[in-house]
Structures are given as C-alpha cells and as structure tokens.
Symmetry: C2
Subunit: 601 residues, 2 copies
C-alpha cells in the first residue's frame, strides 16, 4: 500500500508561513521557539500515525467490528493505540495542566487530527471522540464528575462518546424521547434508545462514557427541554467499584466505509437500572452541546480534508509511476510517458490539491481564530468569535462535500485499478462519504449559515469577514502578478454580497421558506468564495517564500507548485460562483411550487 498519506512540508507551510504569520501580526507574537516545539510535536504525531495507525488502515476496513454476545469486538490494535495516546499525553494535551495537558493551541490540535485521520480515519476517531466528550465534562461538569471521569478518559482507558441521535430524531433533536427521572441521590434514571453512536461500545477500552441528551420528565417541549447527562456503561458504586449500568448495545451498523470504528445502537434502562449524571444546567443540554459543536464540526472538516489528502497522495504516486499514452506534441514516441504528463491528469491532480490544501488552510484559519478567542480579552475576542461562527458551516461542509469529488478524482487517476481494492483509493472514497452526514448534514449547515450566521448581529459577522478579505485583496494588489486575482476575488465578493441582499429581499417578500429554499446552494457559493480567499492568502505566502534568495530547489518547486494550484483554483473553481449566483437569484425557487404529489411517478 501507499506509504505517503500527507505532506509535512505543506502542513508546516500552512501552520507557520500562512497562519503563524497572521498570528504574529495580530497577537504581536513571533515565537520561533514555539514554532520549533510545534514541529517536534507534529513530527512525533506523524511518526506514531505512520507506524501505528497507517499500517492497519486496510485491515480495519477488511475486518470491521463485530457484535458478539453483547460485546463489540474491534481491531486488537485499538487498545494499544488508545493506551499509547493516553500514556504519551495526546488525549490530555488540549486540557489544562491540572488534568495532565498543556492547553494545546487549536491549530496544533487540528494539525494532529489531520495527521491521524490522513493515516487512518477510523483509528483516529476513538481518541478524538473521547476528547470531545471529556471537554463537555471539563467545561460544564461538577468537580465530582471531573474527578471521576476525566482521568481514565484522558489516560485512554475509557472511551467517550456523543450520544444525540435517536431512531426518530437525527437532524431534529427537538423530538428526542430518551427520558431522565430524578432519583433521591441526585442522579437520574435514564430510559430510551440511541442510534448511530460512534464508538458507542468496544473491547479496546475498559469503560464507555456517553455524553447523552435526554429530557427530564415534565420538562418543556422541544429543544428547551433537553438536558445533558453523563451515562457510563459501567458506573462506580458507593465503594468505587464499577458495576453494570444497564446500557446495552442492541446493534452495530454495517457501513459503506469508515468501517474500522463501530457505530452502535444503544438501549438504555431496559432493566430500569441505568443512571445518568447531569452535566451543566437543567434544560440547557442542547446549548451546552452546541458550545462544543464548533470543535466537532472543525474535526469533521479536518478529517474530510485528511482523507482527500491521503487519496491525493495515492493518486500522485500512481500517476508518476504509471506509464501510458503519448503527449500530443510527440504522438509517435516509442515509449509511453508517465500519465502525470497528460493535461487531464494534471487537471485532476490540481483539482485535488486545490480542494485539500484550500480546506486545510481554512481549517487552520478557524483554528487561529479559536486560539485568539482564548488569548485575547473580551472586547477584542468578539471579532474572532463572529469570524469563527460564520466560517464554521463552510469549514465543515466544503471539505466534506468536496472530498467526495476529490477522492473520486483520485480514484479516476487509477483507471480500472482505482475501482479495485488493490489500491486504497476506493476505501478513501467510501470512508469520506460519511462527512456530509454526521455532525449536522450539509443542508443543516446551509440553514445555519444563511438562516443564522449571515443575519446575526445585523450582519456583523459577514461584514467582519469581508473586511478580512479586503485586507487579503489589498495585500495581493502589492504584487503585479496577483492583481487580476485581486480583481477576481473582489468581483466574487461583490457577487456574494449582492446575492445575499437579493435573498434577503426575497425573504421579506415571500417569507422564510423562500429565503432558505436554496440555502444549500448558497452554502456552496459561499464556500467557493471563502476558499478563494484562503487560496489568495496561500499564493501571497508562497510568493513571499520565493523571495528568499538562497532557496533550496525543493522549496522553490514547492512554492511554484503552490502558486500553480492557486492559479488553477482561480481559473477553474472560483468561477463557479457566477452560475451559483444565477441559481440563487432566480425568483421564486422551484422548490416553493413543487408538491410531494408531483413525485408520484
């Protein structure tokens, strides 16, 4: 199998030359020592990913988890991986020193997620889910809950999960039916059913801790009556011994890809002996959960980017090695050329890079804003909170949707071989298809962007974003070679803004349904625009890299290649905004007048 699954050079470019420079400008910090320390951490993550995770990438797909007499059996290396990630501090790293961490910066955390997911997405989710669940306890839990649950979770001994979805409540969490009845000891009796719970149970850990949404009896209807609970598989009794907590795995789902991680259905309280412990405030469960949702959505974006990146590297290796056909300029050559010499293969590779490196840059941009929110004081941080808010739906959905097309093009580079399991691209294509679904479907992201984020604080987030983009445009105008791109991005921005206004008017005239009818299309347009912005930033950073007189050949080629991918993006992808804007401004949307009964035959 392919040994290369990512480019450390590109990751470092993104973190240091693109994002680190912005951080230095904004936070007046330019810490070469911190940069070097980060590189050592990334290197260590890469080595672990390469040695422990990547070698079992295909095995975990071929031998998916099995439910055997109530026990979910996963690949034996899952236990070793969780143990090592716990013992070596990777799981605790984002937490405070008290819990064994060092408040790892968000960009470093995102980079590690990216590395692990590129090596083996399924293997990367166990620890990642644990971190997400632990963060909820860490942020909203009582001291008692923290003392009980955080140490074994951060040591990689206990698995954490997010248990939201139910058979009749996926996108619509208002309809969950899992109930919580208060008990005298301050805990709650839980009963209900959950489905699609990732890593919801397995034999690679000693216990599983579900961060679960449920309704306390007699609480208000809808989302205002949802509370958050810790519901462990094994709960500590009064003597601290772990006893069964009446959480039963009733099924594991057989998925098309992402097979290495078990997705489970859970029955809670079948024997009326399932206890849950309230996290945070009563009826504030969804609110608490959503404060963590930004992180979860960035993780999905990073994972989709990582899978597409790994598939791209497979395709790159293959197109360099595989010889077939001749160039048009030398049609009668005796020997065939490497297929990377063919224009259409170059186009496919450029497309893949434009998606992968654009998505990574956006993910890191969001990571930077997250860091600044924690570093800056209240007055300053509000700006970055709003920027993060408006970018999250794009950072989740653009990589998720585009990774389908990107991995599909990786597969296409192999011809018939790409469709077979001789190479791992077909697995990447299957694995990545989950991303537009989990942590809020693409449709949900579109409604979040157009319905909430664009309008919040009278459009403040959007105007802050356009200010940032204008800075990039102004920087680009300093380089004669980027002036046309600056103009193209300006035009794109004006088109996005005027489309937004047209939609607002349509909403005023025809109501919310008309305003949001094409929210997914709006999200797509907005995504192509935002990725255009991060590409122009990358091109400028590469141009600055090239200005170094004593550049090594490999670095020169890297920067030149980066600018070529930027050129490709502005030539072939950014123009998609024009058509999408036409779609959006067509009034009224067709979906307003088509009825279910029109779909009878």
């Amino acid at each position: 199998m392919a040994t290369r699954f990512m480019s450390m050079r590109n990751l470092q470019f993104t973190m240091h030359e693109l994002i680190g420079k912005q951080k230095a400008d904004l936070y007046k910090a330019n810490d070469k020592q911190a940069e070097k320390a980060t590189d050592m951490i990334l290197k260590a993550a890469f080595e672990f990913a390469k040695d422990a995770m990547h070698p079992i990438f295909e095995e975990m797909d071929r031998q998916p988890p099995e439910l055997d007499a109530g026990v979910v059996k996963v690949h034996p290396d899952v236990r070793t991986i969780m143990q090592t990630l716990g013992e070596d501090g990777w799981i605790a790293a984002p937490f405070s020193e008290k819990w064994g961490g060092y408040d790892m910066p968000a960009t470093t955390f995102n980079a590690i997620n990216f590395i692990f997911a590129a090596a083996n997405y399924s293997a990367s989710v166990y620890s990642n889910l644990t971190i997400g669940a632990a963060r909820l306890i860490y942020t909203f839990g009582s001291e008692m809950l923290k003392e009980t649950y955080l140490p074994p979770m951060l040591e990689g001994k206990w698995q954490g999960t997010m248990a939201l979805t139910e058979p009749d409540a996926g996108s619509s969490l208002a309809d969950i039916k899992t109930m919580a009845t208060p008990l005298d000891d301050g805990s709650y009796l839980i009963s209900g059913e959950k489905i699609f719970i990732s890593a919801g149970d397995h034999n690679g850990v000693d216990n599983v801790v579900h961060l679960m949404l449920a309704k306390i009896i007699n609480s208000p209807a809808g989302v205002k009556g949802i509370s958050l609970f810790v519901v462990p598989k094994l709960r500590p009794d009064e003597n601290g011994n772990l006893i069964k907590n009446d959480v039963i795995v009733n099924q594991i789902f057989h998925k098309m890809g992402y097979k290495g991680a078990p997705i489970t259905g859970l029955t809670l309280g079948e024997n009326k002996n399932c206890k849950g412990y309230l996290v945070g405030e009563v009826n504030k469960g969804l609110f608490h959960m959503f404060q963590m949702m930004n992180g979860a959505r960035l993780d999905v974006g990073a994972s989709a980017t990582a899978i597409a990146t790994a598939a791209y590297h497979c395709a790159l290796d293959y197109t360099k090695a595989r010889k077939q056909g001749r160039k048009f300029s030398d049609k009668n050559a005796k020997d065939p050329v490497s297929i990377i010499e063919h224009a259409d293969v170059k186009r496919m590779l450029l497309f893949q890079r434009s998606v992968c490196e654009g998505s990574l840059a956006l993910n890191m941009q969001c990571g930077l804003y997250e860091e600044l929110i924690h570093l800056l004081d209240k007055d300053q941080k509000i700006k970055f909170e709003l920027l993060l808010d408006i970018l999250i739906p794009v950072a989740k959905s653009f990589p998720s949707e585009m990774s389908i097309f990107s991995t599909s093009q990786s597969l296409q580079c192999f011809g018939g071989y790409g469709y077979c399991d001789d190479f791992p691209v077909e697995q990447h294509f299957r694995d990545t298809r989950i991303h537009p679904i989990h942590e809020g479907t693409t449709a949900i992201q579109g409604m979040d962007l157009l319905g909430r984020k664009i309008r919040m604080k009278d459009g403040k987030a959007l105007s802050l974003l356009t200010e940032e983009i204008k800075i990039t445009i102004s920087n680009a105008n300093n380089y004669p070679e980027f002036r046309i791109d600056a103009k193209d991005l300006t035009d794109a921005m004006e088109m996005v803004l005027s489309t937004t206004q047209t939609l607002a008017r349509m909403g005023q005239e025809k109501g919310e349904e008309a305003y949001l009818a094409n929210a997914t299309v709006y999200l797509e347009m907005f995504g192509f625009f935002v990725i255009g912005w991060v590409w122009l930033n990358q091109a400028i950073a590469a141009r600055e890299g090239l200005s170094n007189d004593r550049l090594k050949k490999a670095d020169r080629l890297f920067y030149q290649g980066k600018i070529k991918v930027h050129e490709y993006y502005f030539a072939n992808e950014l123009p998609k905004i024009v058509s999408l804007s036409q779609v959006l401004t067509r009034n009224p949307p067709v979906t307003m007048s088509v009825e279910a009964e029109h779909f009878t035959n």
Copy 2:
C-alpha cells in the same frame, strides 16, 4: 428492500410521447400497434427484472464471485437468468430472423437494458456483454464463425466478452502486447495477458467466447496493427467436441461495487495451445471494435442512468415515509412532517430526477438516431449518423459522471441510514462509480468530442445538432410559458458555440495540447447544454400531454411534475454552462504551464 426501481410511466412517456412522436414526424410512421407491442415487451422485461433479477440485487453484492481452483463461481441464479433470457429470445432479439431475432429497434433494446440494469446492474451485464460480442461476430465474422458461435451465445449457453485491456494498455490500446501467430489451419496461436475482462469466466455458462484484440506478428506498430479474434475458453475440435483452449483465469478483481459480475485477468497460451479465429480483416481490429463502440457506450450511459434511477426511487420512498422536523411556516406543529416536505429534500429529489430523466431522454434520442440510420437510405441517414456520433460522448459521460452525484444525493436523503447497508442506496453509490471508467474514461470521451467529433466534416455534426436544437427552441416559442426557457437555451447555445470558436483559435495559436487541455471541462459544459435541449423537449411533450381535456389525475400530476423538473433543470443546472465557459476561455490553461516536478510535496 425497496421494491420500486424505476417508473414505467416515465419510460413510456420517453419512448412514445417524446421519441415516438419524433420518429412519427421523421419517418412518417405513426404505428399505434407497434407502440402497444413495444409496451408488452417492456412489461415482460419489467416482470422478469422484478421477479428474477431484483430480488438478488443485494445478495449478489454480499456474495461476490470467487475464484476457486481455476473456476469462477458466481451466484447460482446467473445460470437461470442466462438460460431464460436465451430461451425466451431476449438475447437474440436484436439480431435478424435467421438467428432467432426480430431486429429489435434500438430504442426498445435500450429500454430493456435500462429496465434490467435498474433492477440489478450486475445481473444485467452477462447477457448484454454476450449480445455485444455476438454483434461483432454477426457483423464481421465468417459464416463458419457465425454458425459455430452465434447459436449457443444467443441461447444464453455461452458467455460473450470484449477482451481489450492489458496490464499496460487500457486507454492506450496502441500498446497491447497479446500476439497472434498464423497457423496452417487458418487459425492463430494466441499468447498474452488480458485484464479487467468483465464476465471473463464463470460457472453460469458452458463456455466463454472472447472477442479479443491482438497483434499478428510483424504487423505495423500502434493501432494500425491490431486485429480482432474470437478466442473461446473451450474450442470445438475437428469432431465438434469442445476441448480446452489454454485460456486461464489468473485472478478476479475485488471491486468496490458492481460486485455481482466477475472481472477477470486472463492468461492466454501459457501452454502454447490457445487458438484464435480472425474476425473481419487483418489489422482492422480496432476499427471493427469501434464500430460497435457506440452501442457499448450507449449501454454504459443507460446503465448509469438506470442505477441512478433505482437509487432515486429508494430515496423517494424513504422521503415520503420518513417523518422528521417541521416546516418553517408551521414551526411549532406537534407532529413532524414527511421529509419530502422540506425544501432542501425537494431540491435533492428534483436534482436526481433531472439527471435520471434527462439522461434517459438523451439515451432514447440516440436510440432513435440509430434506428433511423438503419431505416433510411444512404443520403438521409448520414445526418443521423453525424448526430449520433456527436452525441455519443455525452450520452456515455453525462449519466456516468452525474450518476455519482445523483446516487450520492439519494444516499444523502437517508441521512445516516443511507451510509449503512440497511438500504440499497449505498450499493447503488458504489456500483455506479465504474461508469466513468469503463468503455473509455470521461477524459477519453472529452477528447473524442472536442478533438474529433466537433471538428469532423468541418463541424458538420455540430451544425446539424444546433439545427435540431433550434427546432426545439422554435417549438418552445409556441408556448408563452416556455419563452423564457427558449431564450435561456438560445443563450446557452450561443455560449457553447462561441466557446468552441475561442478554443479553436487557442488551438491555432498554441497547438493541439492547448486546444484539448480542458477537453473534459468542455464535455461537461456540452453535456449540460445537450441535456437542457432534451429537457425542453420533455417539457413541451408534457405540456402537450396536459392539453388533453379528459386527463386522469395521475397523468396530470405526472405531466405537472415533469414540467417542474424541467423548471428545476433550467433554474439550477443549465446555468452551470456560464461558469464552465469562463473556465474554458481562460487562456492559457493552467495545465499547460504546470510541470510534474511541481507536484513534489
């Protein structure tokens, strides 16, 4: 599993109201009896597909073929299906009466392919490949070859294959290495290796007949030295007994989808005892093969359309049954609505229908031209030959590429369930990914369209096509409600034509490589344009259907729904031409200046 996999109503609309009417106008034939006979045949095909093929759709995926001691074991029903299709005349139907057929018209043949592939794509390829191979023998073979091979093939007892690809020669057939050495008895000794041979061997038949490309020793280099042979698995000896012909299955490929049909690697003549029989003329093998290629490419388009259609019907059933969320106009309703009521779900369904029904209409349009070529005399038929030639790359690639997106949207309609094998959509998504690869990749289709078809006979095919499209535009202008659409299609046509001219100039200035650099993008633009044409034709036919005063409610809803899908296509898909035209006219293409060494990191 879903029992509905296609709409007979829509197939009949496409065949009779859309295409049949054109045929009546062109060929002065308006034969209601023939229409009824066709319907009976389609009904019979549908019943067989529903009862014999569809029930094993998932089984054939879960229990893929196995290579066991040199024998490829397939699902036991394959033998029954082949036998029935043979005995009941389905395989012989497209051939002349002498061979048990009735010269079945191309549109009927395409419709049956569509029905079978929608029910179970893998199960449909066995007979289809046999027909393709038999057609080569029928058209170019000697009487002796016909007498020997056609009867058992058309009876479903012997499998036919197309054996082109080799380990180092897929898209580039000039480089095949399989050799043919003349023997005294007029046959040839074959030696070499073939890969990716669909149904290349299996235990559902008594013999396998490969229509194989090979080079006769000392023949010219490249494509001009390729000949076509019949190479059977078992060959008749002088007494007519079948003996082994030294054709060995060396592997079967493990594919991501389309698992029910074995794709094999073959070793030929390992023991110097593999005989082949020349079909047609020496060194004209590729030429002969390509005369059959139009049919094979239409089959792929029909199959991709069929898979997307089956996935759409799964999604349709689910979105009607599944209740979740509320409408914006009734947010506090107690009960959730069927998800088909949500605007974004309607959008996804409209997209799927626009792809499926647009692709089917184009497939049938091509079928009509094929029929006319056979019906008309030489002077008249040249027009339809050229129309068919220019449409084939679109009819192959548009459904193939778009079925990835369409099945992906079907899957998305299910949320998390779509990613699991509880429903068959994930299989459709995997199955259909083969289509942009086999029978000429999408890149090959792009070069065929822009490099050959657009330029042939001084652009005659393109001007004939625009004449046809102008007739549609003129018809649309007769209906006030379609005047804007007529204008939109006119604008699209002008954009396509001016883009074509810009590319021609670019080619004159910068050479063939620049002209063809974005041929795949050109194909995509051309596809959206051509499908716009067939959609406007469908809308007009539906409008005519609505004009009937005594319409049943189901028919009225069908026609109204059809016009809604047309509206969707013109609002949301046709505008993509604008962006693609911008991409194509950017000069010079980025792929001209990016080098392999720019892809180092």
